[in-house]
Symmetry: C2
Subunit: 350 residues, 2 copies
């Protein structure tokens, strides 16, 4: 049986094998991904991000357990853990081992850590490809968990349909500054470790930052028609555009508290996306961004093929000696390839 067919049937061994090929960016994997692509577009992609120490991994585990246990939705779930520690050591492997305890033995949950080797574009690209593999293999919920709180993690998480930002009480001073930025991308906010002291302070801070981050929504809230229910509010503006105001969920992941409510917030957000047309908009944004990254990689590798190594090294040497500025160097190198290309892809010294 072909690899493609067995992946489409959800064979775990085949999926594993393909993911490894994708991670190594093997040329064969490109062909397989192209074949799988028509079968994608069905999964709900959930991004989970937040600063270290917020307990993201436990939360993701509990969420997966909830989806598996609740009678209403025995869905197939994939978890992609993007782990920034892995370029260096075995962080990803360790992560898997710890998480296996709760979810091992369940054939419908697939956890895969991703070593964030290579360039940032590479991480985003591999994440996109992983997502496509799971999507084609029939996983209905794909959780992309990014460890860390940097721009790259945010960029990866925001490409999901639903982005969950996890916070926790009492996490130091400069977290506050990060919150404003990270909240802007949040569809659902979670205060995890909500049994800790300071949870009210955190919630108050989040609410005021949220109003800062969504100033239009704040105005709307006062002047528009507010159909708020509890923590929840979908607001209708004059332009008939339905606006989503991120709910704040409180959880204690280690005890499984608040997980059902979080799952409900996520489901409501999915409904909102479908009703508002934002589901398609997010699909488009994700694919455009993937195309962009692929084009950049392709252009760069073509460029390097067309520059003789000796020539490149010579230019680098000139820059190091401050004989040439970086901008001048680029102009020189790029002109070299564009004059070389029409004459049969060789540098003829012109």
């Amino acid at each position: 049986m072909s690899l493609i067919k067995s992946v489409l049937e959800g064979n775990r061994l085949s999926i594993s094998r393909l993911l490894s090929q994708v991670e190594n960016n093997s040329p064969e994997s490109h062909a397989v991904l192209a074949e799988l692509f028509p079968h994608t577009g069905k999964a709900h992609l959930i991004g989970v991000t937040g600063a270290p120490g917020t307990g993201k991994s436990s939360l993701v585990n509990q969420l997966a357990l909830h989806y598996r246990k609740s009678d209403a939705s025995r869905k197939k779930i994939a978890i992609i853990a993007v782990d920034p520690s892995s370029p260096f050591t075995g962080g990803a492997v360790l992560g898997d081992r710890v998480r296996m305890r709760d979810l091992s033995g369940d054939d419908c949950v697939f956890i895969r850590s991703m070593a964030s080797r290579g360039s940032l574009g590479g991480i985003a690209q591999t994440t996109a490809s992983f997502t496509q593999v799971f999507d084609a293999a029939g996983f209905e919920i794909i959780i992309i968990e990014t460890v860390g709180a940097g721009q790259s993690e945010v960029d990866i998480a925001r490409l999901a349909h639903t982005t969950i930002v996890v916070e926790a009480p009492g996490l130091g001073d400069d977290i506050q500054a990060i919150k404003a930025g990270i909240l802007e991308i949040a569809d659902v906010i979670v205060i995890n470790k909500a049994d800790r002291p300071g949870v009210e302070v955190t919630e108050r801070a989040l609410r005021s930052t949220l109003e800062l981050a969504h100033p239009t929504k704040r105005v709307v809230r006062h002047h528009g028609k507010n159909m708020s229910t509890g923590d929840y509010s979908i607001t209708q503006t004059d332009t008939n555009k339905i606006i989503w105001i991120p709910p704040i969920n409180k959880t204690v992941a280690t005890e499984g508290k608040g997980i059902a409510e979080l799952a409900e917030s996520i489901a409501k957000h999915a409904d909102h996306l479908r009703q508002s047309g934002d589901w398609a908009a997010r699909d488009r944004a994700r694919l455009v961004s993937e195309l962009d990254a692929l084009i950049r990689e392709d252009l760069m590798s073509r460029f390097l093929e067309n520059i003789p190594q000796a020539k490149y090294d010579e230019v680098v040497e000139k820059v190091l000696n401050r004989d040439l500025s970086p901008y001048e160097a680029i102009k020189f190198l790029v002109n070299l390839t564009s004059t070389a290309l029409p004459q049969g892809e060789r540098d003829d010294g012109k």
Copy 2:
């Protein structure tokens, strides 16, 4: 007087103006940067990174104050704070305001926050250009502080001559996983907030992770000639290559404790870099990485100029409808430009 001349003379207003031009990626700024470039290469670049909540900003402030106050080295210091919250809201501005309190009024300290707008490549590129401006303007120490703990922040910080990784006791569970990765790039490790409980545990964990991250050095420590002094060790191996083992400094930045010792570690690392030849190696790595980023940007903008928007949108639509996979789409688009280019940079429908 020209902008270039007044920047070279260290005029603060001119520097400010140029930095804004650089941040907006204005074409004029490229020309100015090219003119300034021959005057660069003198500054000691210090990268400071670590997870949120470790007190990095206070540490950087105290370090700058120390350099200014200590009689031995009244150096000109620039601080570039790369702030991931800023693409969305005024995180950078807030940061500046808070920090002004201690360092304002000192003409030889220049603090500039950088909104991390646009792509990640953009952040790295702007950081590199900022560094060159300060370097040319005679700032002897340039501290690049990255808020956050993601891959991008690590990538930016590691391009410095000396990379300082800041930790703090008791910062939650999944920080441990990040440490291993981040320690690999550390030249100097700081345990800030060292008056907190759990500092011994943190130090022990760091030391064992450090041995994991530098397995060769661990062997060397036992078999080589160890010229250790206190926390400090420079080890000579058989191959005559001097190996640097990152010292662990303990600080309480808010009280100024341990800052002088940290400055000493940094100075020793600078000496080590010069003696071992690694200073030039790091300069080379930084410039090569800058060239790489510039080439990618240049290729991409040329590519987009050569693709008619309608054609591009058509391809995106096909991908959205799953009629074309991303890899097939790229192949199609790139072929379009490479056939179009030789005939005068226009798509002639061929």
